[in-house]
Amino acid sequence: MKHSYYADPRIQAFASMFHFGVLGEEKTQEDVILEATGLRNSGLNIEAFDCEATMLPAARDILGGFCKLHVPIGYPGGNICLAQKLYQLEYLLGQNIDDSCFCLDYSNLLDNNWAAVEAETRTVMDMCEDRLPMAMVIQSTMLDDRQIVDACKAIIQGGANRVKMNTGYGWGTSKEEVDLVYRHFRGKIDIHPSGNIRNLAQVGQFLDAGVSIIHSAAVYDIIDEFAAELGLNNSNKGNV
């Protein structure tokens, strides 16, 4: 275990809201193996490890049930055709994956084609019902406030209740974007900030908006920061 304080219930509860992983076209299987091994050895019990579908066997092999596996669909572009994204979803359902997110067709979002957003969401959620927790990705940085609200409305009308604000991967989620969705849809949609979340202060801001899932590549640093705030001893640092 990297730090003895990873076993502290306060750290465990805090860690239980984080997604962390290795995503992106330039990432290799070696990257996945390295990060998954580091996570497993750290003993840090996060919500889910994120990886791409092709990396699933490697992640599963290393993590062996240690945490949930989250695999995004249509990541990060969203602009592959619906049939291809549904093929990915079918594959992941067959793999009994634990958690996923679905990049909506961004052209529909940018064109204010909310009927198409709703229909795409409905198709996905009908396949996932009672099986796979699914977040719809809206890439909010590309949208203005009105579009973010309309996108969430279409998602809810399409039968989903989770929105991932961005893919990360260079796209960040702002407090203002999360606050906007929270103001309009409190209790109707579960908000997942993702991207550019690097410190405890940012996490605290999102918690004020009822957030319970956060995607961050800086999870170890954020947890170290929280442990320091709690006054937990950092002297047991060892090799991961």
Binding site: A13, G64, L207, G210
Partner: protein, 269 residues
């Protein structure tokens, strides 16, 4: 007896009978954020012969016990409540993981009980393993400082709800176990009043309530309750004993293990 004071050495572990231990552990982890107490156990890879698993979220520990009894149902230990800063957000987070609302109590989601405390309580009942009731609740007079202290929306123990036939009789029983009354309320309903009494010991709270339906015999306890027993770890006792509460609830009192790692002071009702 150990050197911890009562607040530190006292905790209540709630035993939950389940028909599928692995699936129940997974549900507790995935939907409610609980973790196996034994660090080497992960809920997705439990040993096949495991018959008991303790799971913790902050200061609330559940003891999941495998049972082959197919008639598990609601008993006098009616529910366990977790403290939520934002109940509505906590609910949608669980629903998004295909969790379910309790259809008997919260079919429409979160609601308020204005009679409780100074400003009321917002609450919801979710279905845990085998339909065991898990409540999320928030005292509205509380400010949001807890979320910034614990850095979670859904926290740990808030209270344990005991559905009793006679609140006064149960109050006397729990007072004998060193619980102190912290609140008495009366909720009027068309079918009759629901008296409610909250008692606290250390960081742990029990809610005694009596519904007209139970008093009139319209509902009865299941023979084997889902929430099956309260395990009181008590630093003030030196030997284990089992008590039976006024409505048949099982209370196991055991000395607090001296090497227990964590005692949380994260607040409750």
């Amino acid at each position: 007896m150990n050197s911890l004071n009562d607040d530190q050495s006292f905790q209540i572990i709630v035993r939950l009978m389940v028909n599928d231990l692995a699936a129940s552990a997974r549900q507790m982890a995935d939907q409610f954020g609980f973790r196996a107490e034994q660090a080497d156990l992960t809920v997705r890879a439990l040993p096949g012969d495991l018959t008991m698993l303790r799971m913790r979220r902050l200061n609330q520990v559940f003891e999941l016990v495998q049972s082959n009894d197919s008639s598990l149902g609601h008993g006098p230990i009616d529910h366990v409540a977790l403290n939520a800063v934002d109940v509505d957000s906590a609910v949608i987070a669980v629903l998004a993981k295909w969790g379910k609302l309790d259809p008997d109590i919260s079919p429409d989601g979160a609601a308020d009980i204005p009679e409780f405390w100074n400003a009321g309580t917002r609450f919801v009942f979710m279905q845990g393993p085998g339909t065991a009731r898990i409540e999320f609740c928030h005292k509205i007079e509380d400010d949001a400082c807890r979320v910034q202290k614990l850095k979670v929306n859904l926290a740990g123990h808030d209270h344990i709800g005991i559905h009793c036939t006679d609140v006064d009789q149960s109050r006397s029983f729990y007072e004998d176990l060193n619980f102190k009354v912290i609140g008495d309320f009366l909720i009027p309903t068309p079918d009759g009043d629901i008296p409610v009494c909250f008692l606290k010991r250390g960081d742990f709270c029990v809610e005694l309530f009596s519904t007209p339906a139970l008093r009139n015999g319209q509902i009865q306890y299941a023979e084997t309750p889902l929430w099956n027993a309260l395990i009181l770890e008590d630093g003030q006792v030196s030997a284990s004993k089992e008590l039976i509460g006024p409505d048949g609830e099982i209370i196991n009192i055991i000395p607090t293990p001296v090497n227990a790692d964590f005692y949380m002071n994260s607040g409750g009702a």
